[in-house]
């Protein structure tokens, strides 16, 4: 659904087959664990069984003495890091926190925290060798929820940690609250006093995992001259390189990171876990070392996203949301850095609310250090705000979509940060959802209900760098550095083909390693089609300029007399003088030599994205099972470069949200052990749990991109938690404020069993 006169694109908007597709459907594509090198050995990681413990000593001598063991490392083998923060593109982390997370120092801070690593003659031997490492732990009481962590008498993860407060000062005493931030505007008390209705609730969400099917891996070869090559499944080879450089105290130029194909990331494969261990082991034994995680380690020792506690109070007057007071406390895991700020900034962004106060608390607990998960923080915050908005709409006797439309943010509306929205598409997206066949159809039958919710994500810009080499036959090799997780090779090839006026099949994209292409920030933040697309566009323009000069040279005229139109060079006044792209490409040698275009951008205007979801559910009052009957997602994509992959992002994000809403959680016992650390009991949706997911692509072009592209990957996961809760409320009259809304919770709450 386009909202403006859309240019007649030739390639953009079509659905070609992705260039890496055949290798992926035949099993030939190489993912990180598929790397086979000469003399490769395997390793294993010893992990803390305790959620919180002092590590008094580690004795590796027995392991080192085993004939099959080639190397053993602990935190003592890591160099001391600088007192600095590393910008990974997913936020900033202290280098010291990263170093201590990779291998525990004097404390184990979560069950699964890496304590030592070994390399041995086989993967089985490496696992067996872990038993020979003796660790002397002094178990400590663990803190397992934000509320427990924030109590005055809570055990402390770090006795030196004090709370960074809104005014910038540090708290007097130590705390598990790493930071407290606040946003304020308008006159909150007056607005509440004057309201027609006020709704107020508390919400609880649980830690959940991105759930990518491919576990983490890392293969490293350390040469005697101190050069290091790392093969890994990562969302960002340059981020990995920067982190390794900090942790291992190596110059960046000594490290080459080769991004292999990646089996899902969703933000969880930006941080590093195994790569530094593989590097240290390789240095010690002089052979390339490969480490892979098993699924239990993935759950316990990578970067899930925060659970947390939220309190929200909203007011309405004359159908207008006049006040919002929200407090969010998110689990950061063992080290600071939850996405509570992002959640705080997104949750009111679909609306124009004049009076607000938002408090955001970043709280450490004895759980794995959280990492980004698709619009980090926003789904949790939306679970709170979008349900309160649903209640306000009911109080105001308004249709929930009409209520959102009435209160919608638009271009110029200021977010709680004070920043004004540029051109955005919330209103258009609401309209698309409202006009959908789904929303226009009645919902009938007992125990059935319908819910809607809006969602927002900023989308990122950041840096991308590409080179495009024109071949003498008129085809083009595009060298880029964005890991392809969901079809970006195709999207970037399409954007270059569009820019050059050549067929899509004539562009051959390659994702290169860190030695072979300029800096590229992560494939994440919904940035790749937007920012790498912009770099590709610049490279295309660069080629056009050079072609114009070369044609002018051939035709012995001025460059101003030559234009590049529809993939052809044309002379301004002589209609006989024409050259196709391929013809001029064939004359490279005699017109100046090898022809390359370069695009290097800092993309500054990503278009924010809105999604509006409609879901119908049926709730079985006896078993508590919630069935998704029908799901429609409307989302503003700006311009959909490859509609099938845009739809795929929408559907995938929705289904992750469905799992998060209905079943997924880290289920901890009181000792801090995750009791459901397998795909059997960490219950993600299967094909049998779902209907088809209907998608409506809205196109409000982003003025900041040459083709109007907005990021699409993250916003789809923001609305489902609230949309489903709203639907369940519509079906049962009961509002669920704690996730997941599992069958057990439904039965317990509907039948007042708790």
């Amino acid at each position: 659904m386009t909202t403006i006169e859309k240019p007649a694109y030739k390639v953009i908007g079509t659905r070609p087959i992705r260039p890496d597709g055949v290798e992926k459907v035949t099993g030939k594509a190489l993912y990180g664990a598929d790397v086979h090198l000469p003399d490769l050995v395997h390793g294993a990681v010893l992990r803390s069984p305790h959620a919180h413990a002092r590590i008094r000593s580690i004795d590796t001598s027995a392991a080192e003495a085993l004939p099959s063991v080639l190397a053993v490392v602990t935190h003592a083998d890591l160099p001391a890091v600088a007192d600095t923060v590393i910008d990974t593109g997913e936020g900033v982390t202290r280098a010291s926190d990263m170093s201590l997370n990779v291998l525990a120092g004097d404390k184990a801070l979560y069950r699964g925290h890496a304590v030592a690593a070994v390399a041995a003659t086989s993967a089985h031997e490496a696992l067996a060798a872990l038993d020979a490492i003796a660790v002397d732990y002094e178990p400590l009481p663990p803190v397992l929820s934000v509320r427990d962590a924030m109590r005055a008498d809570a055990p402390l993860l770090d006795e030196n940690r004090r709370t960074k407060q809104p005014d910038g000062a540090l708290s007097d005493g130590p705390s598990n609250v790493a930071a407290h931030s606040r946003f304020e505007g308008g006159d909150l008390e007056a607005a509440f006093a004057d309201a027609d209705a006020v709704v107020e609730r508390e919400f609880d969400t649980k830690m959940v995992h991105q759930g990518y099917i491919e576990p983490h891996n890392g293969t490293a070869n350390w040469n005697p001259d101190g050069t290091l090559t790392v093969w890994t499944s990562t969302q960002g080879a340059f981020a990995v390189r920067a982190m390794l450089a900090e942790l291992l105290r190596l110059p960046v130029s000594r490290i080459r990171v080769v991004p292999m194909e990646i089996g899902g990331g969703f933000g969880g494969k930006i941080g590093i876990y195994l790569e530094p261990l593989a590097a240290l082991l390789s240095r010690e034994c002089g052979r390339p070392v490969q480490l892979t995680m098993d699924r239990t380690d993935v759950f316990q020792a990578t970067g899930p996203t925060s659970g947390g506690h939220m309190k929200g109070r909203l007011a309405v007057k004359d159908g207008v949301i006049t006040a919002a007071e929200v407090s969010l406390a998110f689990e950061a895991g063992a080290f600071p850095g939850s996405p509570v700020m992002a959640g705080a900034m997104c949750m009111l962004s679909p609306y124009d609310v004049a009076n607000f106060r938002v408090d955001a608390y970043d709280v450490v607990v004895n759980k794995p250090k959280v990492a980004a998960y698709r619009a980090p923080g926003a789904p949790n915050a939306a679970f709170c705000v979008e349900q309160l908005i649903d209640e306000l709409a009911r109080e105001a006797n308004a249709d929930p979509l009409a209520f959102r439309l009435r209160n919608s943010a638009r271009e110029g509306t200021r977010m709680i940060t004070g920043v004004a929205h540029p051109r955005i598409g919330h209103e258009e997206t609401i309209g698309a959802a409202r006009d959908s066949d789904h929303y226009q159809s009645p919902i009938e039958g007992p125990n059935r209900g319908r819910g809607v919710a809006s969602g927002f994500w900023f989308n990122a810009g950041m840096q991308s760098s590409v080179v495009a080499s024109v071949n003498p036959d008129g085809t083009v090799n595009l060298i880029e550095g964005s890991t392809d997780i969901g079809g970006t090779r195709a999207s970037l090839a399409m954007q270059l083909a569009e820019t050059l006026g050549i067929p899509y099949d004539d562009v051959r994209p390659t994702v290169a390693d860190t030695d072979s292409v300029g800096h590229n920030d992560v494939t994440g933040g919904s940035r790749t089609a937007y920012a790498s697309g912009q770099a590709v566009y610049e490279a295309g323009l660069d080629i056009q300029r050079q072609l114009v000069e070369r044609a002018a040279r051939l035709w012995e005229c001025e460059a101003e007399d030559v234009s590049f139109v529809d993939g052809e060079l044309r002379h301004a006044s002589d209609a006989d003088r024409r050259l196709t792209f391929a013809e001029l490409a064939g004359k490279q040698m005699e017109t100046g030599g090898p022809l390359q275009g370069r695009g290097s951008v800092v993309a500054r205007s990503p278009g924010a994205a809105y999604g509006v979801h409609v879901v119908d559910v049926e709730v079985d009052p006896d078993t508590g099972k919630v069935d998704i009957l029908r799901y429609t997602i409307a989302q503003d994509a700006g311009t959909a470069v490859h509609p099938a992959y845009v739809e795929g992002q929408m559907q995938g994000g929705v289904v992750q949200g469905i799992g998060w809403a209905l079943n997924e959680e880290y289920y901890y016992n009181e000792d801090g052990r995750m009791e459901n650390a397998s795909f059997l009991d960490y219950r993600m949706p299967t094909s049998l749990d779902l209907p088809m997911i209907d998608t409506i692509i809205v196109e409000v072009p982003n003025p900041g991109h040459p083709y109007g592209v907005r990021g699409v990957g993250e916003v789809p996961i923001v609305p489902p938690l609230a949309a489903i809760a709203n639907a369940i409320h519509d079906a049962t009259g009961h509002r669920f404020t704690e996730l997941p809304i599992s069958p057990r919770r439904v039965v317990e709450e509907l039948h007042h069993l708790r």
Partner: protein
């Protein structure tokens, strides 16, 4: 004169003001000018010659890690926001 949007935590430095008008040809000059009006502002926003890593600058609505040498035009709007990342 450019408009600087003051985030809630820093408003006490500006006697509660939510926006401040100041002049500067670059981001660095602008922040210095704001510091003259709101003492302590520079220290809270700049460290080691660059914007603090936990902050982003939104220039006319576009958030990014601008350098202090970024040119500022009259009537530009500069907001100071928390730095963020993404997942996907």
């Amino acid at each position: 004169m450019a408009t600087v949007i003051v985030p809630s935590p820093l408003r006490p430095l500006c006697e509660g003001a939510a926006t401040v008008e100041a002049a500067g040809a670059t981001l660095g000059e602008l922040l210095r000018a704001v510091d003259a009006i709101c003492p302590g502002f520079w220290e809270r926003t700049v460290e080691d010659g660059r914007v603090r890593p936990e902050l982003s600058i939104a220039l006319n609505g576009h958030a990014h890690r601008y350098g202090l040498s970024e040119p500022i035009a009259p009537r530009d709007e500069v907001a100071i926001v928390p730095a963020l990342g993404g997942g996907r």
